[in-house]
């Protein structure tokens, strides 16, 4: 993987060289030191010039995607220690050392897929207990899976993997960076939103509940117990408004039932539902609820896309699900483009795959927007990411260049 940190390799090489030098005798050491010094100097020079490209302090592009989703020009981004430090006028910053420039390009926050199964296909299906709050999605994810690399190259820098959809309550989802280094993955959020499911997947003949009636009754019981502090800590936290929720809904009726039962709890609840969004749009609260819909492709009926557009117009945040790896790596952008074609505000569409997604995944204070103090997870696109002919030129994770388009990355 070219993504293995260049500077770590260099560091190790340097250490080896110095170690070798130390082995020799005093006389030869001097000679050795000189030669090694020269070599080291040369290497440092080479490393230095490369290191700039690897961890630039400034990235300059034609336009950037602002936190509100709009495209603004003339601004550049300053990065330090893997975080965005400032967003300021590019004229001053372009001339700084360690600045890297992509003329004509658009800088976008790394895209986030909130309904993904990368590395966890088949690993998170638990049917035995209807209520399983102790499960943690991180236990199901194989971060060495190559699908992470595919996602990264399409500009998706973080994914949320939920626990099972077969349980009424099934533990917490996890958010992980798609850039995986040799020493392990970077978990952006281990204890993410608490996952609920409503729908026929939950009903099982082997155990309760076996119907929506039973499911909702069970859910209410649990919430009552949580109020009295008699449930798992995670459920109690959710009920007390200390954590977010994620609810998978099969049908419109499930969404309505979920809103009625859970809607007032949790800080933010994301409802995963695509087909009948039209029918539930009015019931969602713009401040506390988010609709997670999609992914759409070129065969999706416009009625379904129109529903999400209508919800968005009602000021309720809409997030597009990518469902990687089941959908093509570009499905987030395809969904966004199709929604804009059907009338969605382009700024809302850009937010749907970046900042709104980050908020629903409980990592809104960490990634998802180009603003100070957030991680420098950035993607350089050749044009507005909503345009499908825009391609990924480069991907930065925590300020480090981890992918460059082999053909076109030469700016």
């Amino acid at each position: 993987m070219q993504a293995i940190a260049y500077h770590t390799r260099m560091r190790r090489l340097l250490q080896c060289t110095i170690g070798c030098a130390a082995m020799g005798s005093v006389k030869t050491v001097r000679a050795k030191v000189r030669s090694t010094g020269l070599i080291v100097f040369g290497l440092l020079l080479v490393t230095a010039t490369n290191a700039v490209a690897q961890t630039p302090s400034v990235i300059v592009t034609d336009r950037i995607v602002a936190p509100d989703g709009k495209l603004i020009s003339g601004q550049a981004v300053t990065i330090r220690d893997g975080k965005i430090v400032a967003v300021a006028a590019s004229k001053e910053l372009a001339s700084k050392p360690d600045a890297v420039s992509y003329p004509g390009a658009v800088l976008c926050p790394g895209l986030i897929d909130v309904v993904s199964s990368i590395g966890a296909i088949g690993q998170n299906i638990e049917r035995t207990y209807a209520i399983d709050p102790g499960a943690s999605a991180i236990d199901a994810i194989d971060t060495r899976h190559r699908d992470f690399q595919t996602a990264l190259q399409a500009g998706v820098t973080a994914v949320m993997v939920a626990t099972s959809r077969n349980n009424l309550i099934s533990g917490t989802a996890a958010v992980v960076s798609t850039f995986v280094e040799t020493d392990g993955p970077t978990w952006l959020r281990i204890d993410g939103p608490l996952t609920f499911s409503l729908g026929s997947a939950v009903f099982s003949s082997g155990r309760a509940p076996t119907s929506r009636l039973g499911a909702l009754a069970m859910l209410r019981d649990v919430l009552v117990q949580a109020g009295a502090g008699q449930t798992h800590e995670r459920i109690t936290n959710f009920v007390q408004g200390k954590s977010d929720g994620l609810v998978f809904c099969d049908q419109a009726m499930d969404v309505t039932a979920a809103i009625r039962t859970l809607g007032s709890f949790g800080t933010r609840i994301g409802f995963v539902h695509t087909s009948h969004a039209k029918e539930i749009g009015e019931e969602l609260s713009p401040q506390r609820h988010t609709l997670i819909a999609g992914p759409y492709d070129f065969t999706t009926s416009t009625a379904i896309i129109d529903a999400a557009v209508a919800v968005s117009k009602a000021e309720v945040p809409v997030v597009f699900a990518g469902r990687l790896p089941f959908a093509p790596a570009d499905s987030l952008r395809i969904s966004a483009a199709l929604a804009v074609r059907q009338g969605m505000d382009p700024a809302a569409a850009r937010r749907a795959i970046t900042s709104s997604a980050a908020h629903v995944a409980s990592v809104g204070d960490l990634i998802g927007a180009i603003e100070p103090n957030l991680r420098a997870d950035l993607v350089v696109f050749s044009d507005d990411p909503l345009r499908l002919n825009a391609r990924v030129l480069a991907v930065y994770v925590a300020g480090q260049l981890v992918y460059k388009d082999p053909i076109n990355g030469q700016d």
């Binding site: 296909i121 992914p295 492709d297 070129f298 065969t299 999706t300 009926s301 416009t302 469902r323 790896p325 089941f326 959908a327 093509p328 570009d330 499905s331 395809i334 483009a337 199709l338 804009v340 074609r341 382009p346 050749s382 044009d383 507005d384 909503l386 345009r387 499908l388 002919n389 825009a390 391609r391 053909i407 076109n408």
Partner: protein, 535 residues
């Protein structure tokens, strides 16, 4: 002339024009209002002609369904409709080179003669309107997904007709479609492939049989002529002898064949071989089947009379009975025997279509996703020497060198949601294919695929994705205009906005690359096919 006659003349002159005018009005009625059709001029638009540099501010003149003039300024004829398209962009209408728009679907029993048009729902106005609203003005309609040879595709223009139906077949028989993708198991695929080879072989045999028939027919006619001349000379001497029906029958045969030769369109399948000559004086009572036999007329009577004497004079009676081998024309016996007309091979419409493909008149589009199927298709094309286009081509990236060598054109499908870990062919590797095909120099276009009627409207977006992933140096607009038209063989009529080409174009209120940009109007064949309702 006298004053009086001058006056009379003037009166006549005065009246004459009136009569002339009345006559003109009454009798000269153009059924097509072409003469009086108003030209349309679209002005001040940014025109992407795809045939040269973009015209930043220009005008289009449409007349008779075609572009009569295009440039920075055009001459505006009288009475023309003028539209100001300031701030808008005009592009050629998009062509979807692989579409199922309006396709009623289902895999009926089909063969090479089936036309995709039969499967087209002429009332599917919703899908067509949606396609027009996204800039698509023409599609290649693929036949339904039968297995093996599925019929012929055609180019359909998306127009809303006056009678409420939609679609107008623009070019029939654009390609012969073969589906290699339908068989899942290896045995089924082997059977399918060998079945195809057989069909092509049968077509070649049919061609040979037809050629042989033509030769034999020529010989036969020549000999008939010779004989007739000979008999003419002799008949002057011989008297007419009243022969029975048997002779009459035989003569009718000859006469029939002459008629048949004149009437080449008559469907004479397996014309019954002339019955063996029974060299007896007894009458042959059975009447021969004579579907074309008209009333005896002077000509036929004369011929009959002529031939009666011929056969009698030549002593045909002694001739042995002929066998049933109708294609035989024995030279030795021709003077003694009755000439037998060679029987035309039974008409095989399916082979006729395949022959067109073998003559390179009709390209063959083969739907193949697996690399093994693609290789089979290339082999078939090389063996039977036809022009090959591969549809689908999901694993083409493994074979780009072979495709380049065989000069195959590829139509890639849409980037749709695939099932991860599903069997190989069903994951759409748009990126891998685009890149490797471009590198190898294989010509490719992108279509919406034959699985969904809805996908046709997004062929533009699909092309955008294809260029981003596959060939970033290619302008995505080219894929759905110039390149698609060229592949379908309609580039002299569509795909570019130049003088003389069909007036199929789209007026966008922004940059067509921008998904937020809306289509304002669409013109197909010079008429408004879609007008956005301001919302």
């Amino acid at each position: 002339m006298t004053a009086a006659s001058r006056g009379l003349f003037r009166i006549r002159l005065a009246r004459a024009p009136l009569a002339v005018w009345i006559a003109l009005v009454v009798f000269v009625q153009p059924t097509d209002a072409q003469l009086f059709e108003r030209a349309t001029v679209i002005e001040n638009a940014r025109i992407v002609t795809m045939a040269g540099p973009v015209i930043e501010k220009g005008s289009l003149l449409i007349r008779g369904g075609r572009i009569a003039a295009i440039g920075e300024t055009v001459e505006v004829p009288m009475l023309s409709k003028r539209f100001d398209a300031a701030g808008k962009t005009i592009t050629p209408g998009f062509i979807d080179p692989w579409s199922a728009l309006g396709n009623l679907g289902g895999s009926q029993k089909v063969d090479a003669t089936s036309s995709a048009w039969d499967n087209f729902d002429v009332y599917s106005d919703y899908d067509v309107t949606a396609a027009l609203a996204n800039g698509v003005t023409a599609i290649y309609l693929a036949p339904g997904s039968g297995s093996g040879i599925s019929g012929m595709g055609l180019v359909v223009r998306l127009v809303l007709q006056e009678d409420g139906t939609i679609g107008e077949p623009m070019v029939d028989e654009v390609a012969l479609a073969i589906n290699l993708d339908s068989a899942k198991q290896s045995i089924a695929r082997i059977k399918l492939f060998s079945g195809l080879r057989k069909k092509f072989q049968v077509a070649l045999d049919y061609q040979d049989a037809l050629e042989l028939y033509e030769e034999e027919l020529e010989e036969y006619l020549e000999k008939l002529e010779e004989r007739r001349k000979k008999k003419e000379a002799e008949s002057a001497e011989s008297a007419e002898s009243a022969e029975d029906e048997s002779d009459a029958d035989k003569k009718d045969d000859v006469e029939d064949s002459k008629e048949a030769v004149k009437d080449t369109d008559k469907d004479e399948d397996a014309e019954p071989a002339p019955e063996p000559d029974k060299p007896k004086e007894d009458p042959k009572p059975e009447p021969k089947p004579k579907p074309d036999e008209d009333q005896p007329n002077a000509f036929s009577t004369a011929i009959r009379a002529l031939n009666k004497s011929n056969y009698e004079a030549n002593g045909d009676e002694a001739k042995p009975a002929k066998t049933d081998d109708s294609n035989n024309d024995d030279d030795e016996e021709k003077d003694e025997d009755e000439l037998e007309k060679p029987a035309k091979p039974k008409r095989d419409p399916e082979s006729e279509v395949l022959l067109k493909a073998l003559d390179k008149e009709l390209p063959v589009r083969i739907r193949a996703d697996r690399s093994s199927d693609i290789l089979n298709a290339i082999e078939l094309a090389e063996e039977f020497n036809f022009r090959l286009i591969i549809e689908g081509a999901t694993e083409a990236h493994l074979l780009s060198a072979q495709l380049a060598d065989a000069e195959v054109t590829v139509v890639l499908g849409p980037a749709v949601r695939g099932r991860a870990y599903a069997s190989g062919p069903y994951r759409r590797h748009l990126a891998a294919n685009g890149l490797s095909l471009t590198k190898a120099g294989v010509d490719w276009v992108v279509g919406s695929g034959a699985s969904s009627s809805r996908a046709a409207r997004y062929v533009g977006m699909n092309a955008q994705l294809a260029t981003a992933l596959g060939d970033s140096k290619l302008d995505w607009l080219k894929l759905v205009t110039v390149k698609a038209a060229k592949m379908l063989g309609v580039s002299n009529r569509m795909g570019m906005l130049t003088r003389g080409r069909s007036a199929d174009f789209v007026i966008w209120n922004g940059d067509p690359s921008d998904p937020g940009s809306k289509v304002d109007r669409v013109y197909v064949a010079g008429k408004e096919a879609f007008v956005a309702t301001g919302k």
